[in-house]
């Protein structure tokens, strides 16, 4: 499986997997052997991590984002594939480069446009999903870095795009 980036309290941890042993996870290169011992309730689970017992309470807001608590200490959690994380950073840096005004959305990697859930002229909020690209057998959603209106769309569903291909322009709210 592809690398994951686990973001805890704003800090990134790289997670890699051992394909021959599904219990093994490498975090920043350190090996952890994991076993789920018991699910006490829907959200509360006891794991054994390198034989050490850890009870956690998972409270997700979305499928890959939320809170995870252990010993009463709550961590803000976000899990992304490496690709997706890259996408997010890319969009973020683009947005920063544009000075927070209009946004030009380019493809951060080669892939297949599988869905465009917005139309030209549509008003969107910062964080709304604007395009989905399949790459490395994973779907990656690109979210809008700003609130505004879709100005132009330079691709369509089913089209293969190159890295840095122009996908969309979004006009910021004035």
């Amino acid at each position: 499986m592809e690398k994951l980036i686990v973001t805890l309290n704003g800090k990134d941890f790289t997670a890699e997997f051992d394909e021959s042993n599904e219990k093994i996870v490498y975090i920043n290169g350190n090996s952890y052997s994991i076993d789920l011992l018991k699910s006490h309730t829907q959200n509360i689970h006891t794991f054994s991590v390198n034989q050490k017992l850890v009870q956690i309470d998972i409270d997700l807001r979305e499928s890959e984002m939320g809170y995870i608590t252990s010993d009463g200490l709550t961590h803000e959690l976000e899990v992304n594939t490496e690709t997706k994380k890259m996408l997010k950073k890319f969009i973020q840096s683009k947005a920063n480069a544009e000075g927070g005004k209009n946004a030009i959305i380019k493809s951060p990697m080669p892939g297949l446009v599988i869905k465009i859930p917005v139309d030209v002229g549509q008003k969107i909020e910062k964080g709304d999903k604007i395009i989905m690209i399949e790459a490395m057998k994973m779907e990656n959603s690109l979210s809008s870095p700003i609130s505004g209106t879709i100005k132009t769309i330079h691709t369509r569903e089913g089209i293969a795009v190159e890295k840095n291909a122009l996908l969309m322009e979004i006009e910021a709210n004035s």
Binding site: N9, N30, L36, I58, L60, I68, T69, D71
Partner: protein, 502 residues
């Protein structure tokens, strides 16, 4: 002994009183507002009656309704617990007037101690040491100057008519006295229309030491040692212990006798607590007397073996205390931690929600006085204290070890509590060696330690998150044949739970 009593309170203290009564074969009547219908204290009683009121809080303050229910239910006495009506002399009086017994001191004793000025005067004349100073209104700087010199700096200027900190000035040295006096006068005049002030010695970060006393109506008085309640946050006690590691046997006895004298001075019977502040030279000064059971009474029970609530019932029913002063022996060391629903990572904001999982610690030396159980809802209407964890060890070091372990095994899910914060205090070197006072949390404790605890977990939490995330993907996207246990887990992971107050 009574055959049935009513408990005019809720939560853990209602449970506490019900337990003692049941163990004396006394039946118990709980009263509750609609919002408390599902709370353990209601179900734990023998009988329960609903209160009707505009707000949940007012229900427990409605003297007339409570006394009516007591009569209707056949209760012969009323226990006020702490908070709510527990220090209202009118309540004690109304209960007696209705021909029932009040499980506490007389209305007049509550009155004497209710007013701080009255209490100070009464205590002073009974020979109880009070904070040096003068109650006399001062308007003349020369007079003030000489009194300040006499009691020694730092001093505190307070508006005679005052309250709420208005017209109050800390004065650290003689140089600042004049300007502080003048500004205090101006503020006092503006706030209260009276520019007179009085002066008291300012005790810097004292220890909070209190003495438990109890007396019956036959003239038997006893003191049950001290409690050290110096670990406070914004004047809310968080951790209490008995005995205090800074008191020797002679000081303990002296303070005990002073406390008994204080009780005698107001014709006191039933349980009460005389609170002192103690400076670094171990001088203790009367602060106030609480004319009721205290939240922290269990630590005294643990080191003396005496059940204070049972004694309260004995006294109120006219019996003598079941022991005498000479029977009181202190054994071992007890510590109490208050389990409060507040978020230490977010300015101690009270948290509300449903407790969806709970596991209490157990075993040797562990006592839990709790008002909650799994499935119960914590609302915004009442105090944020959910339960108390009390431990007993053969000495302070043993008790600290037991407390640390017990706190770590006290699992409450669905609501934030201060448990992690308490763990870091219990583990703090300066708390462990006994060098702490009421300034501990403000001046000594570093919140960074809490953050470090969190950081120490991160890599393992990341590993669990990654593992679980992969399981979801595998279950959702392919057919790798994950066993059902893991299936269940990954579904849970996907499931979103809504939190109130976020």
């Amino acid at each position: 002994m009574f055959s049935r009593i009513l408990i005019a309170n809720r939560g853990e203290i209602a449970v506490r009183v019900i337990r003692a009564a049941k163990e004396l074969d006394v039946e118990t009547v709980a009263i509750f507002h609609e919002v408390d219908k599902g709370m353990p204290f209601v179900h734990y009683a023998d009988y329960a009656y609903q209160l009707h009121s505009d707000t949940p809080k007012n229900a427990y303050l409605d003297m007339n309704q409570i006394i009516e229910i007591a009569i209707k239910s056949g209760a012969e006495a009323i226990h006020p617990g702490y908070g709510f009506l527990s220090e209202r002399s009118e309540f004690a009086q109304a209960i007696e007037d209705a021909g029932l017994a009040y499980i506490g001191p007389s209305a007049s004793a509550i009155d004497s101690m209710g007013s701080k000025t009255k209490a100070r005067e009464l205590m002073s004349s009974a020979g109880v040491p009070i904070v040096p100073g003068t109650k006399k209104a001062i308007t003349d700087f020369v007079e003030l100057f000489s009194i300040a010199k006499e009691i020694g700096y730092p001093v505190l200027l307070k508006a005679s008519a005052g309250g709420g900190g208005k017209g109050m000035r800390k004065v650290l040295s003689e140089d600042d006295l004049k300007s502080s006096f003048e500004s205090a006068q101006r503020e006092a005049a503006k706030a209260f229309g009276d520019d007179s002030v009085y002066i008291e010695k300012y005790i810097v970060n004292p220890k909070h030491i209190e003495i438990q006393v109890i007396a019956d109506k036959h003239g038997n008085y006893a003191y049950l040692g001290e409690r050290d309640c110096s670990i406070q946050r914004r004047h809310q006690k968080l951790i209490e212990e008995a005995p205090s590691n800074i008191l020797d046997e002679i000081t303990r006895q002296k303070m005990g006798e002073v406390a008994v004298n204080a009780a005698k001075a107001c014709g006191y019977y039933n349980a009460g607590t005389v609170e002192f502040v103690m400076d670094r030279d171990k001088n203790s000064y009367f602060l106030e007397m609480n004319t009721r059971l205290q939240v922290e009474h269990p630590v005294t029970e643990m080191v003396t073996g005496i059940d204070l609530v049972k004694e309260q019932l004995r006294v109120a029913s006219g019996e003598e205390l079941s022991f005498r002063q000479e029977d009181v022996k202190l054994t071992g060391h007890a510590i109490e931690c208050r389990i409060v629903a507040e978020d230490p990572f977010n300015s101690f904001m009270p948290d509300i929600g449903t407790i969806n999982y709970m596991r209490e610690p157990g075993g040797k030396g562990i006592r839990i006085d709790s008002g909650i159980e799994t499935g119960c809802e914590i609302t915004m209407h009442f105090d944020s204290m959910l339960a108390k964890l009390i431990v007993w060890g053969k000495d302070r070091a043993d008790a600290l070890n037991i407390m640390e372990s017990a706190l770590k095994n006290y699992k409450i899910k669905g609501i934030k509590t201060i448990i992690p914060f308490l763990v870091t205090i219990i583990n703090h070197p300066q708390f462990q060696n006994g060098w702490f006072d009421t300034g501990f949390i403000d001046n000594v404790y570093e919140f960074r330690v809490l953050e470090q605890m969190k950081e120490a977990q991160e890599e393992v939490i990341a590993a669990i998150s990654a593992y679980s995330f992969r399981k979801i993907k595998q279950n959702g996207g392919s057919s790798t044949g994950i066993p059902s246990q893991q299936q269940a887990q990954s579904n849970n992971w996907k499931k979103t739970r809504s939190y109130k107050g976020r």
